[in-house]
């Protein structure tokens, strides 16, 4: 059995983010859009928070429990989109999802470390783990777009 595959899935940088998650811990601040998301089947449980100012994600935090793929990708995602314009973040989310699904994606679009999740495309069973954080981000952006001036109720 070739281990090439496994090693394309579990890259050093992924395990780094798993062990040393960035932007971890939540804020009580009401100006954040907060999204809590779960995968009841596998127990992954993640909360992310974004602050949007002038159309940019100026702050982002994440916290949760789950496997290395889901937890590291929350960390990677937070680093990737921090400081990004909303419309760019939407593009990255879209590109990322295509990539991990194994579909055509724009290799020139800068996704930072998120590019290392390309190996997930060979592990469709782990697709949900690799996208949970990005789904959460997507929902947070949706919240923002639906209600740009709100104070989050959560």
């Amino acid at each position: 059995m070739a281990y090439g595959n496994l090693e394309t899935l579990y890259r050093q940088v992924i395990m780094d983010h798993y062990k040393n998650p960035r932007n971890k811990g939540l804020k009580g601040d009401e100006s954040f859009y907060t999204v809590h998301i779960k995968n009841p089947t596998c127990g992954d449980d993640l909360t992310i928070q974004i602050k949007v100012e002038d159309g940019r994600i100026t702050e982002i935090y994440q916290d949760g429990v789950g496997c290395s793929i889901s937890m590291s990708s929350a960390s990677v995602m937070s680093e990737t989109v921090k400081g990004m314009k909303i419309e760019d973040a939407i593009k990255v989310i879209d590109n990322y999802v295509h990539m991990v699904k194994g579909e055509a994606f724009d290799e020139n679009l800068d996704m930072g470390d998120a590019i290392v999740y390309q190996g997930v495309s060979q592990f469709p069973q782990r697709f949900k783990c690799a996208t949970i954080a990005w789904n959460a981000l997507s929902k947070a952006i949706e919240k923002h777009l639906n209600c740009p001036y709100h104070k989050d109720e959560e």
Binding site: K38, P40, T41, C42, P124, Q125, R126
Partner: protein
Amino acid sequence: MDVHSIRKDFYILVNSDLVYLDNAASSLKPKPVIDMINFYNERLGVNVHRGVYRLSHEATELYEGAREKVAKLLNCRFEEVVFTRGTSSALNLVASSLGMQIIELGDEIITSELEHHSSMLPWQNVARKKNAKLVFVPLDEDKRITVENFKKVLSDKTKVVALNYISNAMGYITPIKEIIRLAHEKGAIVIVDSAQAAPHMPIDVKDLDCDFLAFSGHKMCGPTGIGVLYGKHHLLQTMEPVEFGGDMIDTVELSCATFKETPYKFETGTPIIGGAIGLGAAIDYINSIGYDFIMQQDNILRDYMLQEMKNINGITIYNPKTDTGIVSFNIDGVHPHDAATVFDQENVAIRAGHHCAQPLMRCLNQVATIRASTYFYNTKEDIDRFIQAIHKAKAFFDSFI
């Protein structure tokens, strides 16, 4: 499309002399459907959703792929498709969840005497438990549901309308779209029993705007033990689950639990994996035949059957204006079960009984009728053999007079 090449997909039609005219009860199952059920049982055979290994992932893809096929068939969203054991189970789900939630003392539930027991009885039960009133659309002189008669019973008290799309005993097509429009003006919820419609005509739930719709796999080339409940997403969302346990939960605490989103909150325990995959294959098969062809065959065979039957003295046809390939009749003076034995001797499979429609039988003043029902694989030769069997039955029982 050529019937004779279609028939090759059905073992019994190739390898026996049987004239199968009991399609309204169950259709026969073609080879591609059987092969797909086999494929799951033999090559996969494992559980879905929770397995990280490849076989389980493949099974999950097929299972959820079948849901996608149903969604396409009905023109609805993926999450609006709940797999159930069959039509009866699906209709009961709506009544015991939504029905028990929304029906109150004095509310009215409209149904009809033309219903299959599975369409009417779940609401009879709700009405009884909630002290609500079950109201019956008066049938016209042909025993048909009409928009005019529906208007007579529709009122501000109407909360639910539960009607069939095609009657399994009379073969009538209910003017359901107009009924739904009228019911919605009163804010009522409409549940459409499509057990007979799904196998025979295209259904577009968006166009109909029905709130719920149910059908079974086994009447449309699929396996037994699988069916579908379609429900509008926002309604399914508000409904309580009726079965609790594995696979449908989000978080379980000792004193309470939260549930998954629809459709999963209604699919408790290990799903009907092989059944759903088989239904998916049946939908592919039916699409490959095409509803145009199916309806055309039903019409040709119905016209031919009625024309031939009208030439026979001493039989009574109860639905000479049937819209589909379903014909209900009796041989005068011969009990339908006695007649059925002659049909069986002639190797013609028909059904004799109340067709799960006792109220209708009472309207017809009959304990039972003989029902012949066609599907796309039937031929004019089948009808000839059926007509011959009527003659034989008449002759045989006449000999005792």
